[in-house]
C-alpha cells in the first residue's frame, strides 16, 4: 500500500481550529495526529513531514498572541524543530499558528499586532497569490478568497522598507487585495527562504468546499472545491513528490 505523508498538529490549551484543520489535512491525503502539547517531545517529530500550528487562542493570547505557545514549543522541541526544517520538513501556521511561527523566528522578522481598526474581524477577504511556485500555493489561482477571523493580524515590520523588501524577495507570498487590517504592504501570508515554512492569517480549512462560500452561487468549478482545498492540496502534492524524489 502507498504510504501517506504524516502531519503533526500541535494543540495548545486554547487551540480551537484543530478539528477542522485535521479534517482538511485528512481530506487531501495526510495521516494526521492532533497532539496536545503536554505530550510533545522531540521523538514525536520522527516520521513526520509536516508540522501544523492551527488557529485558536493559545493560552488565551492575553500577552502578545502566540507568545507563550512559542516559548513552550521552544522549550520542548526548539532544536528538533530547527533540524526538522533543515532536513526538509514543512511547517504551516494558520492564524494563531502564524503568530506562533513568527514568534518562533521561523519566518521573516515581523510581528502580528492588533488590527488597525482595533476590532476582532470575521469576514471574507480576497488575496493575491504572489508565490505561485510556493509548495503551499502552487495549485491556488492568482486571486482567491478565504475567511479571516482575528483581532491581531496586522503584520508590521521594523520599518516600511523591510515589508517592501518581503514583497520584492517573494517572502510575502500572500497579500490582501484591500486594506483589511493595516498590514504593511497588505501582507496576509509569509514564507521563509526555503519555501517550506508558511504562515497566513486567513483560514484555508474553512473554505474546503464551494458551499462554504457565503454566496451559494460561488463557482467552485469541477469537484466543487473551495479555495482552501487547493492550498492543502498543493502542500500534499509537494510533499508527496519530494518524498518520491528522495533516494
Amino acid at each position: 500500500m502507498e504510504e501517506r505523508p504524516c502531519a503533526l498538529l500541535l494543540k495548545f490549551p486554547g487551540t480551537n481550529c484543530d478539528a477542522e484543520t485535521a479534517r482538511a489535512l485528512e481530506a487531501v491525503g495526510f495521516v494526521t495526529e492532533v497532539l496536545p502539547v503536554s505530550a510533545l517531545k522531540p521523538e514525536k517529530l520522527v516520521g513526520v513531514s509536516l508540522v501544523v500550528f492551527s488557529g485558536g487562542f493559545s493560552y488565551g493570547d492575553y500577552v502578545m498572541s502566540g507568545r507563550i505557545a512559542s516559548l513552550v514549543t521552544e522549550q520542548k522541541i526548539g532544536e528538533t524543530l530547527k533540524d526538522f526544517r533543515e532536513n526538509g520538513g514543512y511547517l504551516l501556521g494558520i492564524c494563531n499558528g502564524f503568530q506562533i511561527l513568527t514568534q518562533l523566528d521561523l519566518l521573516p522578522a515581523g510581528s502580528l499586532v492588533e488590527n488597525a481598526g482595533g476590532r476582532f474581524q470575521c469576514q471574507w477577504v480576497k488575496m493575491k497569490n504572489l508565490a505561485p511556485k510556493s509548495p503551499f500555493l502552487s495549485h491556488c489561482p492568482p486571486e482567491f478568497e478565504l475567511p479571516i477571523a482575528h483581532a491581531e493580524g496586522r503584520l508590521v515590520t521594523r520599518d516600511a522598507t523591510e515589508a517592501a523588501g518581503y514583497v520584492k524577495s517573494g517572502a510575502a507570498a500572500l497579500v490582501y487585495v484591500d486594506d483589511v487590517n493595516g498590514s504593511f504592504e497588505r501582507i496576509a501570508g509569509l514564507q521563509d527562504e526555503t519555501g517550506r515554512v508558511f504562515g497566513l492569517m486567513p483560514h484555508p480549512e474553512r473554505f474546503m468546499k464551494a458551499r462554504d462560500h457565503y454566496d451559494p452561487d460561488w463557482d467552485g468549478g469541477e469537484g466543487g472545491w473551495g479555495s482552501g482545498y487547493y492550498l492543502f492540496k498543493s502542500l500534499f502534492q509537494a510533499i508527496k513528490e519530494g518524498e518520491a524524489g528522495e533516494p
Binding site: 481550529c17 477542522e20 476582532f120 469576514q123 483560514h203 480549512e205 474546503m208 457565503y214 451559494p216
Partner: protein, 812 residues
C-alpha cells in the same frame, strides 16, 4: 467571644466567628425575624419559605447550619426552581376569572408531552437534563439551551455577558454524558444607543452604549476563545431596557444518542474538573432573584463572576475526550449555586458525601458555605467509576486541567457535606426540593382598539425612515466581532449575498458525522407584548419556526425553547401579561407540533429609580433548532439570480400594531396581527415540498419593517433590482397601503424561484394565500413597487443599503 448560644442569629452573624460553619438557632424566631435573617444572609427567601424551613427543622428536631440554609436558598431560588412558573395564579382576562395551576405544567410541559407522544422517538430528552435533545439521525442527537444573564450584565456588562455565554456552554458540556458545543446564539435587549442622559433617572446606571459594547465584547471574548461559532442572534432596543438590559446566551450541541442517558449509582466517585473555587460569584442565584437598585451597582459586585475561557476550553477538551472513551457516568455543570446545586442534582436520589477539604481554592480562608455555593466559573462535576479514575487523571494531565476528587455517591439518599472534620450539612435530598407553592395574582385586559391607518403620502420616504430604525439597521459591526466560521461548519452564515453583508434569517450548521444539518433561529417581539402579549407569544413561535423552515428545515422535525424575562411578578398586570404570553406560545406551538424542550425564566427585571420602579415589558425569546435533511435543501435569505421571479406566501393583515412603522409614526394601541397558525403550518409544509423539489432559490421571512423592507433586504445581495406589483397580494380587504408595505403580520415568506418553476410552485399553494409579486431585473438597481398603475416605491437599493448598513456602525 460571647457564648453563641445566648445570641440571636443576627448577632451571631454580626460577630463573624472565625469558625468555618455555624448552627443557627431559628426555632424560636417569628416570621419577621426569619425574614430579617433571610435578608441579612442574602438568601432571597420569603417569609413563607423561611417558615416552611423552620417547620421542616422542627420536624427533624434540630437547628439548621448556615451551609444548609444556603443550600436550601439556592435550590429554592427562583433562578433554580422556577417557582413562579409553578405557582398557582388567580388570573383575570378581560374581567373573566380563571385559575392557572402552574404555567409550566399547563402550557409548557403538557403541551410538549402531547407533541412528544405524537412524534415518537423524535424528542429524546426534555426538561430534566441541562438541555433537551432531538434526534438528528440514527446515531446523533442535537440539543439547544439558552440562558439569561441579565442582572450581572446590568452591573458589569463585560463580565456578565462573558460568563453568561461561558455558563450556557457548560450546560451543553453537562448535557447527557457531555455534548459537544457547535454553535451559539446571543440575543440582547438594550436601551437605544442614542439615549440621552436625562432619560436615565438613577445614579450609577451604565449608559446603553456602554452596556452594549461591554456585552458584545464579553460574548466575543468567550465564544471566540472557546472556538464555538456565534451564528445567530438579535437585538431589540427600547427605553424600558435602560436599567435592566437583557442578555440571552444560547449554545447548541451534538452528542451520540447512546450517550444521552446518565445515572449516578452508589459507589461512584464524584469529581470536579476545571477551575478552582473562590469568593467570586457568591449569591449569584439568589441575587438574580431580586430587583436591582442603585446600591446593586456597588454592593452586588461580588455576585458577578470572572470568566476564564481557556480554563473552560481545557475542561471541554477533557470532557469530550473522556466521554469518547466511555469514562463518564454522569456529568453536570457548576452553574448557579455552584457545587451545592451540581452535587445536589447529582446526589438528589442516590445521596452521598462531599468532602469540602478536597476542593482546590483560589484563595485560603473560605468558610464552608462559601466553598459549597461559590459560583466560580469553569467547573464541571462528574460521577465516574472508581476504576476509571487513573485514566481520567491521565486525560486531565494531557489537557492540562485540574481534576479533584470531591466525594462518593453512597445510596443513602442523604446529601452529606464534610469540612474540617465536621458534618456541615446533612439534608434529605427529597425534602430539599419541596419548596412551598406560591400563590399569585394576574390580570390583563385588552389594550388595543381599531385605529385609522395614516395616509401614506410618500411611501419611499417612509421606507427610508424605517431603514434608520435601530430595530432594522444591520447588526454587521457586531456580527463581525464574533467568529461565526470556526469549526468550519457554518453553511448558512449570518451575513450573505454577493458581498457577504446582506441579512440572513436562520443560520445553518453542518454536523460532522451526519448528512443532515441543523438550523438555528430566534424570535422576540417585545413591542407587540406591550399591547397584546398573547399575540406576541403566538407570533414569536411562528417567526422562529418560520426562520427554520425558510432555511430548509423540515417543519415536522423541529423543537423550540422558551426564555421569559419580566419585571415584578407581584404586580398583577405584569404577571397577567406573562400568563397571556405563555398561552400565546403554547397555542401556536401545539398547532405547529413544535415541542418545547427546554426553557428558562428571569424575574425581577425592574429597577428602583428616583421616580419609582421601572419594569421591562414581558419579553419572550423563542429560539429553535430544526433538522435539514441534506445540504441541497439549505436555503438562504438573499436574492441569487437576476432572472428570478418573486412570490409571497401568507396572508397580509390590515393590522399595524406592534410594527416598527406604527412606532415611528406614533400609532398607539393599534390591533396587533393574529397568527393564523393552522393555515401557516399547511403553508410551511407546502413550502418544504417546494424546497425538496429544488424550486426555491431563496426565501426571506417578512418581519420588522414589513414586506417592503423584506424585499429590499433580499435585494441587498447586490445581484439585481426588483420590479414588484402588489395588486394580487393576499390580504384583508380593508388593508391600507401602509399595512401592505410595512405591516408585520406573521407567517409570511417572500420566495425567489426560477421562471420555469413558478407555475409548479403556484400549484403547490393552490388554495393557500400565495401570489406572484414580480421579478428581479438587471435594467435598474432599484426597489420598484407598484400597486396596479400607481408607483408606491422607487428607491435605489444602494441608498437603502447604505442607510441600513450605517445605522448601527456609527454607535458601535
Amino acid at each position: 467571644m460571647s457564648d453563641p448560644a445566648t445570641l440571636n442569629p443576627l448577632e451571631r452573624i454580626a460577630e463573624a466567628p472565625a469558625d468555618h460553619y455555624r448552627v443557627l438557632k431559628i426555632s424560636d424566631l417569628d416570621g419577621d425575624r426569619l425574614l430579617e435573617l433571610s435578608k441579612f444572609m442574602k438568601l432571597s427567601l420569603s417569609r413563607e419559605d423561611m417558615l416552611a424551613i423552620q417547620a421542616v427543622y422542627a420536624e427533624w428536631e434540630r437547628e439548621p447550619t448556615d451551609v444548609e440554609l444556603e443550600v436550601i436558598a439556592q435550590t429554592w431560588s427562583e433562578h433554580c426552581k422556577h417557582r413562579i412558573f409553578g405557582a398557582t395564579i388567580e388570573h383575570q382576562i378581560d374581567g373573566q376569572a380563571e385559575t392557572v395551576n402552574s404555567l409550566f405544567k399547563t402550557y409548557i410541559r403538557d403541551v410538549s408531552q402531547r407533541i412528544f407522544d405524537s412524534k415518537p422517538g423524535f424528542v429524546l430528552s426534555a426538561f430534566h437534563d441541562n438541555a433537551g435533545f432531538i434526534k438528528l439521525d440514527d446515531e446523533l442527537a442535537i440539543c439547544l439551551k439558552a440562558e439569561t444573564h441579565n442582572h450581572p450584565s446590568a452591573i458589569e456588562p463585560y463580565a456578565g455577558a462573558n460568563t453568561g455565554l461561558g455558563g450556557v456552554i457548560r450546560d451543553i458540556l453537562g448535557a447527557g454524558k457531555g455534548a459537544k458545543p457547535i454553535g451559539s446564539l446571543d440575543v440582547f435587549c438594550f436601551g437605544a444607543p442614542d439615549t440621552t442622559m436625562d432619560l436615565i433617572k438613577a445614579d450609577d446606571v451604565i449608559h446603553p452604549l456602554g452596556v452594549m459594547r461591554g456585552v458584545v465584547r464579553g460574548v466575543r471574548d468567550y465564544g471566540n476563545r472557546m472556538g464555538i461559532p456565534t451564528i445567530s442572534g438579535a437585538i431589540q432596543f427600547d427605553d424600558s431596557y435602560i436599567y435592566n438590559p437583557l442578555v440571552f446566551c444560547g449554545t447548541a450541541g451534538v452528542i451520540p444518542i447512546k450517550d444521552i442517558e446518565k445515572k449516578v449509582e452508589a459507589g461512584m466517585k464524584v469529581i470536579s474538573v476545571g477551575g478552582r473555587t473562590g469568593r467570586d460569584g457568591l449569591h449569584g442565584a439568589t441575587f438574580s432573584s431580586a430587583a436591582l437598585d442603585t446600591d446593586s451597582h456597588e454592593s452586588d459586585q461580588q455576585a458577578v463572576q470572572i470568566g476564564n475561557p481557556i480554563e473552560e476550553k481545557k475542561a471541554a477538551d477533557f470532557v469530550l475526550a473522556a466521554r469518547d472513551k466511555g469514562l463518564i457516568e454522569f456529568i453536570t455543570d457548576c452553574g448557579a449555586g455552584g457545587y451545592s446545586s451540581a452535587a445536589g442534582e447529582m446526589l438528589e436520589q442516590c445521596g452521598g458525601v462531599i468532602e469540602l477539604d478536597q476542593v482546590k481554592l483560589k484563595e485560603p480562608g473560605l468558610v464552608s458555605w462559601e466553598v459549597f455555593i461559590s459560583e466560580s466559573q469553569e467547573r464541571m462535576v462528574l460521577a465516574v467509576k472508581e476504576s476509571s479514575l487513573p485514566e481520567l487523571r491521565k486525560l486531565a494531565d494531557l489537557y492540562e486541567t485540574e481534576l479533584t476528587e470531591l466525594g462518593t455517591a453512597d445510596g443513602s439518599g442523604i446529601l452529606k457535606v464534610r469540612h474540617h472534620g465536621n458534618t456541615v450539612c446533612e439534608l434529605d435530598c427529597s425534602k430539599l426540593h419541596d419548596a412551598p407553592t406560591r400563590h399569585l395574582k394576574g390580570r390583563w385586559s385588552k389594550k388595543t382598539s381599531p385605529v385609522e391607518a395614516p395616509v401614506l403620502t410618500n411611501p419611499g420616504e417612509a421606507l427610508r425612515d424605517l431603514f434608520i430604525d435601530f430595530a432594522i439597521v444591520s447588526r454587521e459591526p457586531i456580527i463581525r466581532e464574533y467568529d461565526h466560521e470556526v469549526q468550519g461548519n457554518t453553511v448558512l452564515k449570518p451575513l450573505a449575498g454577493a458581498s457577504g453583508d446582506a441579512p440572513q434569517d436562520a443560520s445553518v450548521l453542518r454536523i460532522s458525522g451526519s448528512k443532515r444539518l441543523m438550523a438555528m433561529g430566534v424570535s422576540l417581539l417585545p413591542e407587540w407584548g406591550k399591547t397584546d402579549p398573547y399575540a406576541m407569544g403566538a407570533a414569536c413561535v411562528d417567526e422562529c419556526v418560520r426562520q427554520l423552515v425558510a432555511a430548509g428545515a423540515d417543519p415536522d422535525r423541529l423543537a423550540i425553547l422558551d426564555n421569559f424575562c419580566m419585571g415584578n411578578p407581584d404586580a398583577e398586570e405584569e404577571l397577567g401579561a406573562l400568563v397571556e404570553t405563555v398561552k400565546g406560545i403554547a397555542s401556536v406551538a401545539e398547532v405547529y407540533g413544535a415541542p418545547f424542550v427546554s426553557g428558562k425564566d428571569s424575574f425581577y427585571n425592574y429597577f428602583e429609580t428616583k421616580e419609582g420602579p421601572v419594569s421591562i415589558p414581558v419579553t419572550i425569546l423563542i429560539s429553535g433548532m430544526g433538522i435539514i435533511e441534506e445540504e441541497s435543501h439549505v436555503t438562504g435569505a438573499s436574492l441569487r439570480k437576476s432572472d428570478s421571479l418573486l412570490a409571497i406566501i401568507g396572508h397580509t393583515s390590515g393590522d399595524l400594531g406592534g410594527s416598527v412603522f406604527a412606532r415611528r409614526h406614533g400609532i398607539k394601541n393599534a390591533p396587533v396581527p393574529a397568527t393564523r397558525s393552522e393555515e401557516a403550518l399547511a403553508c410551511y409544509r407546502q413550502y418544504y415540498e417546494a424546497v425538496k423539489k429544488g424550486y426555491i432559490r431563496s426565501a426571506h421571512d417578512v418581519s420588522e419593517g414589513g414586506l417592503a423592507v423584506t424585499l429590499a433586504e433580499m435585494a441587498f445581495s447586490g445581484k439585481a433590482g426588483l420590479e414588484i406589483d402588489l395588486c394580487s397580494l393576499p390580504m384583508d380587504d380593508d388593508a391600507s397601503k401602509a399595512a401592505m408595505l410595512f405591516g408585520e403580520s406573521p407567517s409570511r415568506l417572500v420566495i425567489e424561484v426560477a421562471p420555469e418553476h413558478l407555475a409548479k410552485v403556484a400549484d403547490l399553494f393552490e388554495g393557500f394565500p400565495f401570489a406572484a409579486l414580480g421579478r428581479a431585473t438587471t435594467t435598474h438597481a432599484n426597489l420598484h413597487i407598484e400597486w396596479g398603475k400607481e408607483t408606491l416605491v422607487n428607491e435605489p437599493l444602494a441608498d437603502l443599503k447604505s442607510l441600513w448598513k450605517n445605522g448601527l456602525a456609527r454607535y458601535y
